[in-house]
Symmetry: C2
Subunit: 160 residues, 2 copies
Amino acid sequence: MNCKPIGVIHTPFKKHAPYQPVEADREDFYVEVDKEYEAGLDELSKFRYIYLLYFMDKINKALSMKVEPPWAGGKEVGLFASRSPVRPNPIGMSIVQLLKIEGNRLFTTGLDALDGTPLLDIKPYIRELDSKEEANYGWLDDLEDRDHLMLHIRGIPHDE
Amino acid sequence: MNCKPIGVIHTPFKKHAPYQPVEADREDFYVEVDKEYEAGLDELSKFRYIYLLYFMDKINKALSMKVEPPWAGGKEVGLFASRSPVRPNPIGMSIVQLLKIEGNRLFTTGLDALDGTPLLDIKPYIRELDSKEEANYGWLDDLEDRDHLMLHIRGIPHDE
């Protein structure tokens, strides 16, 4: 099952990326779609949010079925109960706000991918389908300092 | 960029799948994860919703940058503004409710994949990260009968 890049993700992160989306609306997060796919962007700008799927090809940590997510205080969970980037198929997924489209460039809010990451797909985030208000926090609810953890997850600056 | 199956998605759909998730909570939608990955499911059952990523390898329609989504009354939009399964990388994504896990089987609510579809990844749907209440409907808002369309998109039975 082969995948091919349809573009490139540009971020300020050259070697290390934060673990979850960064709240930012500067112009240093953008996606450049290959010219042959530019026509596929028609009408996309009407969506406030989009999904980006990308191939995390620069991660060379060993795969493990148990992981200790950052900021989870050493709690160990199954890999698929985590958003760890080290997965059998290193497909990353981020939900970002689409700020503007200029030609084949999509400017977005922050995301936690390395600069140069190959883009696999863009999908519209459709409120009716994708926003699940009854969704929960899973094992994160078991943590004593969940609210504090959420600030880290969302990349919101705060006093420790 | 190679992907490999980590399991198989089972649905009642042998040849045709509906276009969007089917609301159902019978036992005929389940995911079977390969035994070597079963340990990665630990703690996943605490999540109400999960993402499934899969490889839509049985679709052999021609790729086009313009599509006419079903029920959109002939409106043409860019491929990436749609959830069409015919994409440069045929990676399908569904959000489903996780009903129960029995060993390496995850029973879920309905999804619009064909029976036997190779599974690529499972990610937890974390409310704080993934439920965007400010998300909109993009070009769907331009349609006169948006509310009716939503019933189709969500697979809710109704009188025409």
